[in-house]
Symmetry: C2
Subunit: 629 residues, 2 copies
């Protein structure tokens, strides 16, 4: 089974595309005719350049408006085909895609089209070429792969076959299992694309909204399982275009494409064990059991402020690193690390961002397997030299260049805290009732959000929510939540459209994505809020109008509402349960903390409150370029 | 008739929104509840702040999920309404919008809803308030203004009326003339929004794609004519949200809104002379007869290069300004001005952008009326001190801070060339057959494209084409063409999504929009291209593959095709006619020239060729940040 990606999926000049595609690990490409025409090289030179990148030309596309014409227009269509075959011979390509016709004069008729393709097959054979026919979802007469297959069957020519595209089938809600009855040798090529489930004009949807398998809502896995069930072992290729990809860096798109394709095929293999799926093996997704630690890079005055804030939240300073300027803070199952080193990774993170979350440790079932899977999917491994008395814990690069460590029970890694840290001689802080990390909120440009969602869902046993729009006073923020199967780890991704949003503002300061806030869980938010208030915690203050609105919206007891107002606790309610939350003020470059309590089966993150807490946070941020007060 | 805009249409904090809305000239606002809740002021303080901006609160919105409930949920809905009325009293608002319910338990039933509203009317009356009911296009039971009207009619309460929204009516393709039978006094409020004609889920379309009247494809004018025909003279308000507006500057949105609303009402008044439309008068659109001149700000070495390029294109140096370092170049009806002054407007344009087009003169029927209309629609007048022997020509600011002058035949302005310029002692250049300016191509960020399209179509007698997607190797460029009624003036707007596109690249260098190229028309492009080649003109070179593809696509004579290839002429063909074009190489900061010939009724701009000429142009641009060769 060969992996490919269409050159139209990747931005840049043809040479830039090829370099990115080769580096990502694909076997070959679909060459999009426009890319070929725009290149100054001769067809022969372009073919050589592609092969010099270690890539095969697995498809030449598209050839449009071929079938169903008569007279001069039919003759002209065959002339065009002949010229394309000549070009393909020079390029070194032997499979051409013909998509179903949109021509206003195309007559339709299954037998007429079959006759056209039988003749085209003869012409193709004289060049040693093959032709694949694909039903466009908006084709004039043929817009269903079952009709395209009937035409190919009746054309009955060895050089004529079918090309399947998941978007065209799934967008029209055609049952992908109808593929299972097509003979494998008549499927010449398979294209994959996903898309978010928005009902709209099919052509507009396809042009602007396609995305990588697993990034959208279509049943691409069912489609691919049906294809695999036929015994098909030819090329599986990504033909994807959307407005964001067109403007993105070629390397990122190619890497995401490879990751999406590899993980899809791996999932198909695991769900259809009796079907051969010939791709390199990798370990299965590992169960994620919780957040083991969160590490802050900080320094000097900011380190003191952060430690003070942690104390006001009920965290105790329980450890000093054996050899480094690193302290450990704990409460319940939460471990926070403050790293004040002036060399090494945390130090460079501090130098770039100011106080920032530079490292997250995840508890997993098998740290080695997790790292191996991540590497197989193109994640960047992270290694730092290990000092005396320190352990070498597997790690990869995560959002915004931060690090993600993996810790399991199978080794003595679980003992890292007693091995690397000594108990300091300071009194413990009174506990505030925080028990665990509810979620980490990562912030990024919207263009990168799908990419980081794919990162999490492909490596870990995590699923993805729908994308929610959050209106910031200065722009749109889109938010998606990932959750481990048991709910122990939750990560939200917030993608900002403009730099004027709170999220975008934070990004402008921090060069790429980052974790902007950590939410801690409590079993009794009122008690926690009171204890924190008594320890000097400075909450984000909500408006009177917010509580007036709460009163109108929900049936809350007046006493309870007054208490919420005095403690600045926000509230949300669904049929599943209730949600309480309050926030710290933003620290340094926009980092902040949240305290939450989930009641019943509430599974969200208080999205209806987001506009109000965002507005309150923005009030506190000094306008850019203004003198500080 | 009062003009208003919803606070949700404008970005920023409530205070920023109010400042922008007041400055644009609106009478009042619809206050969006979220904006109110997010503000730290008390309802009374917020009301005062709004009135201090000189604005009235004409509507409080939205109140959701009111009608069709029973039992506790119905009681709770009335409790919510009571709280809102109390809040509105403090704010100083007396009209509330209730949108049709999406509540899963709403029962439906016209009479049940009418009964709910009759009771709500009683409650509203005790507060001195009125309530307007609006049918959301995706309402659960009520999604058509005719049904909402039937409910209001049966509620039969003086404090209950109807709210109409052009989007909700037109998106469902409901005939707007059905409004003509509604009594004017039962229409409490009118909201206007346009949208591009893309078939998609109504809610998604409304949330992400609404735009200003005239910026989209809906029949907003027909809608407003029907409203005006009822005798309605209440508030007309803009309720508009889309992804771009949310991230844009509040001033721009408010100014565009005022312009769109004013021009719509003016058009309604002119098309329905028997209906009273009570808005400030302004002159009608003036006929645009042609481009009188294009002025370049340039200097030193670049001025010499530009003059050389003009000579190679067959332009003759025919005038020197009486008092300034300004020269006049002519060919056919085309006048180009090279301004090398080191003070004044052109000089500052040069200092900001390098060689750039800083001024365009349009021939209009009435220059004074055009300027007056432009000013009434919020355009910025431009005045420069007039030197001895110079004329004071009316002008406004145009795209990217450039200037647009208006010249008519009614004054002696037409003689400006003979008055201000002297013939120099240089030989004329041999003519290359260029006869007139075919079009000017303006370049901008995509977010600003609708705004500049509205600028042109609202001030001039120009119409707008559909928006076309052009794929640049590094991103999407959207293009829209404006054409005067007689076709004498054509202006294309190209909006870039990312700074990596050719257009975006140009913008990064030129701080905002600008004219990136001028296209000259010839009656015989082959003769022109040969004459220019002989004069040393350096064309943009297309690839061999491009001509191979032309051969396959069109039935061109081989000899003609060879000639096109040798002269680097591009070709396009439609059922209406044919189009030939060739380009100069990009000059200085990306400015370039195009030569075109239209055959038959070809009305486009060669969009199918854009990817290939863009790729060729990008080849010539040095990568940013790389050392120059």
């Amino acid at each position: 089974m060969k992996s490919a990606i269409a050159t139209v999926s990747v931005s840049g000049t043809l040479k830039e595309k090829l370099a990115a595609i080769a580096r990502a690990g694909f076997d070959g490409i679909e060459i999009f005719e426009q890319d070929f025409i725009a290149d100054a090289g001769s067809p022969r030179d372009i073919g050589t350049m592609i092969r010099d990148h270690g890539l095969e030309i697995l498809l030449f596309q598209p050839f449009r408006d071929f079938e169903g014409l008569v007279g001069d227009q039919r003759r002209k269509a065959f002339d065009r085909a002949r010229y394309k075959f000549e070009t393909m011979r020079k390029l070194g390509a032997d499979l051409m895609l013909v998509c179903s016709s949109l021509h206003p004069n195309a007559l339709g008729g299954i037998d007429r089209a079959a006759q056209d393709f039988a003749e085209l097959g003869e012409l193709a054979a004289t060049f040693g070429m093959r032709v694949g026919y694909e039903a466009l979802a908006w084709g004039r007469h043929v817009n269903d792969h079952r009709d395209a297959w009937e035409i190919v069957r009746r054309a009955d020519h060895p050089n004529i076959g079918l090309i399947l595209d998941s978007f065209h089938t799934l967008a029209r809600k055609i049952d992908p299992d109808s593929i299972r009855r097509i003979p494998r040798d008549k499927i010449f090529f398979v294209q994959l694309a996903d898309a978010p489930q928005i009902s709209m004009d099919l052509f507009y949807w396809s042009r602007h909204f396609r995305n990588m398998p697993g990034e959208g809502d279509l049943r691409v896995q069912d489609f691919m399982r049906a294809v695999a069930a036929t015994g098909y072992d030819g090329t599986v290729s990504l033909e994807i275009f959307n407005d964001q990809f067109r403007g993105a860096q070629p390397e990122g798109i190619a890497r995401d494409g490879y990751r999406a394709l590899h993980v899809l095929m791996d999932d198909v293999r695991r769900s259809e064990p009796d079907v051969l799926v010939d791709i390199p093996p990798m370990p299965a997704r590992t169960r994620v059991g919780g957040v083991e630690f969160v590490e802050f890079a900080t320094r000097a005055e900011e380190a003191g402020q952060l430690a003070g804030m942690l104390r006001s939240m009920g965290f105790s300073h329980l450890g000093d690193h054996v050899s480094k300027a690193v302290t450990l803070w704990q409460q319940g199952d939460i471990r926070l690390i403050l790293n004040q080193e002036t060399t090494g990774f945390a130090s460079s993170a501090y130098n770039m961002h100011g106080t920032t979350i530079c490292d997250v440790g995840l508890r997993v079932d098998d740290a080695g397997a997790t790292t191996e899977r991540a590497r197989a999917l193109g994640a960047t491994p992270f290694n730092q030299s290990v000092g005396p008395g320190e352990m070498d814990i597997p790690a990869i690069r995560s959002v915004g260049g931060s690090v993600m460590h993996f810790i399991d029970d199978t080794s003595d890694l679980a003992d890292v805290w007693s091995v690397e840290f000594r108990r300091p001689v300071v009194a413990a802080t009174p506990d505030a009732g925080l028990s665990r990390i509810d979620h980490l909120a990562e912030t990024m440009h919207y263009e990168d959000m799908l990419s980081w969602a794919l990162f999490h869902t492909s490596i870990f046993d995590m699923s993805r929510s729908e994308i929610v729009d959050v209106v910031d006073p200065d722009g749109l923020v889109r938010s998606v939540a990932m959750k481990s199967a048991n709910g122990a780890v939750r990560i939200t991704l917030n993608g900002a459209d403009t730099h004027r949003t709170l999220v975008g503002n934070f990004l402008a300061d921090s060069f790429g994505g980052a974790i902007q806030h950590v939410a801690f869980a409590t079993g009794d938010i009122f008690s926690t809020a009171r204890r924190m208030r008594d320890s000097g915690f400075d909450p984000l203050v909500l408006t009177e109008n917010y509580y007036g609105d709460l009163r109108a919206r929900f049936s809350l007891e007046p006493g309870r509402l007054d208490e919420m107002k005095s403690l600045n606790i926000l509230y949300d309610e669904t049929a599943q349960g209730a949600f309480y939350q309050f926030y710290s003020r933003p620290f340094a470059s926009g980092l902040f903390f949240e305290i939450v309590q989930r009641v019943g089966a509430y599974d969200g993150y208080g999205a209806p409150n987001a506009p109000f807490r965002t507005a309150a946070q923005k009030q506190l941020l000094r306008p850019k370029g203004m003198p500080q007060r």
